[in-house]
Symmetry: none
Subunit: 223 residues, 2 copies
DNA sequence: CTTCGACCACGAGAATACGCATGAAACTGT
DNA sequence: ACAGTTTCATGCGTATTCTCGTGGTCGAAG
């Protein structure tokens, strides 16, 4: 899962980004409205954390522009004080949620989790696919009840696949959501990781759809 | 749009319900956790507003039970002020959003709007033609409920035909949509693929219109 | 009603593209 | 410097796609 943090306060930005990375997300940072807007429009993020008060272009304008351009990713707004009118207009402009400063980082993390899982159409913080269980809250996964030991990229791969269960996920889509900005596209890294994941969670769970990508699904189709 | 309000404070409950009705929603009211849980499990709501502190059963438990039972409707939680940990656990239990008391009714309305808007984006994209079902989002197709195993070109062909159901689709049109750029015109690949598709989904569904192309249609023509 | 020509279906093999395993090399943080 | 992790290159096996040839079907015209 790839997240964009747009916040001009350098310290706060780093604090948030670090916490997110710790939870296993890939994070891009922006420090003013224009940079943030540009990134959000060109890169595919699973969620955006957006300060409302920003140099160059304020947060509300940024969201509005994204929504006009058809970008639908979930946006969590950071509002300065208890300016509740800001919150309302932010939400109506297209933001999906807000947190008032000052906030606990834990809370922001919980809200980001909720936004991402809601965007994927899941209602609880645990996603279950056959014997595999993904605990988004703790960033852990298990098979048949026993904990998995996954490397960070393996976890990101599993997480993305499980958030898009039943759907075919292309290689490029995976690359875009597992890595930040620049990454050499032609390589078989994804295949390698899929292979390693399959070895750990069982080979039947990730189906390969030739020419399109991969699909995660509980294996009950004998067909 | 039908909304459930679960709140034990009679005044607050009425206040919210009135505001919602004013906005054009249909509103049901509940005044304790058990009643709320029962209603939410038996009636189909588009959104629920749920107080966290309730008699009989607290809000977090209510959400958890709903989620376990597979109920996925968006839930907006009302939390007592400053109970930061409550918010986090509420969100992780499966609530989609929360508002801290005391709140402005305007704000609750904005959030309900946002929740419903989000939920609407998850209607599944399926095309059905007789016994054939095509799920474009998952890149899957089935006949009489059983999964089809289609290759990527077969799927593309089926997809195009089903998107133009009832219309005659010419060979060149198909070629142009199944292949990027240039393609050797003198070849009968399309015919080959139509043949293979017919073998998999049943021969009656794709009618050949001599001299023009193919037409997909549910087979009920006594002709 | 028959015949003719164009159009289409289908099978089987050849050519290709694709995904996978593997192991070595490069990288990372401790 | 070391152990764990990630990246890259190679070659192989196979599913998929394409080509080709034959025979069948349809429709119009005589």
């Amino acid at each position: 899962m790839r997240i964009l943090v747009v916040e001009d306060d350098v310290n706060l930005n780093r604090q948030l980004s670090d916490a997110l990375k710790e939870s296993g997300y890939v994070v891009d940072q922006a420090f003013d409205g224009e940079e943030g807007h540009y990134l959000g429009e060109t890169e595919p993020y699973d969620a955006v954390i957006l300060d409302i008060g920003l140099p160059q272009m304020d947060g509300i304008t940024v969201v509005e522009k994204w929504r006009e351009a058809g970008k639908g990713m979930p946006v969590l707004m950071l509002t300065a004080r208890d300016r509740w009118s800001d919150k309302v207009s932010g939400i109506d402009a297209g933001a999906d949620d807000y947190v008032a400063k000052p906030f606990h980082v834990e809370e922001v993390l919980a809200r980001v989790r909720a936004l991402i899982r809601r965007a994927a159409g899941h209602s609880s913080s645990e996603i279950i696919c056959g014997p595999v269980r993904l605990d988004t809250k703790a960033s852990k996964a298990s098979v048949d009840g026993i904990q998995l030991k996954l490397t960070s990229h393996e976890f990101r791969l599993l997480s993305y696949l499980m958030h898009h269960m039943g759907q075919v996920v292309s290689r490029t889509e995976l690359v875009e959501h597992m890595y930040d900005q620049d990454f050499d596209r032609d390589s078989n890294t994804i295949e390698v990781f899929v292979g390693r994941l399959r070895k750990k969670i069982g080979v039947d769970l990730i189906e390969t759809v030739r020419g399109l990508g991969y699909r995660m699904q509980a294996p009950n189709d004998a067909h």
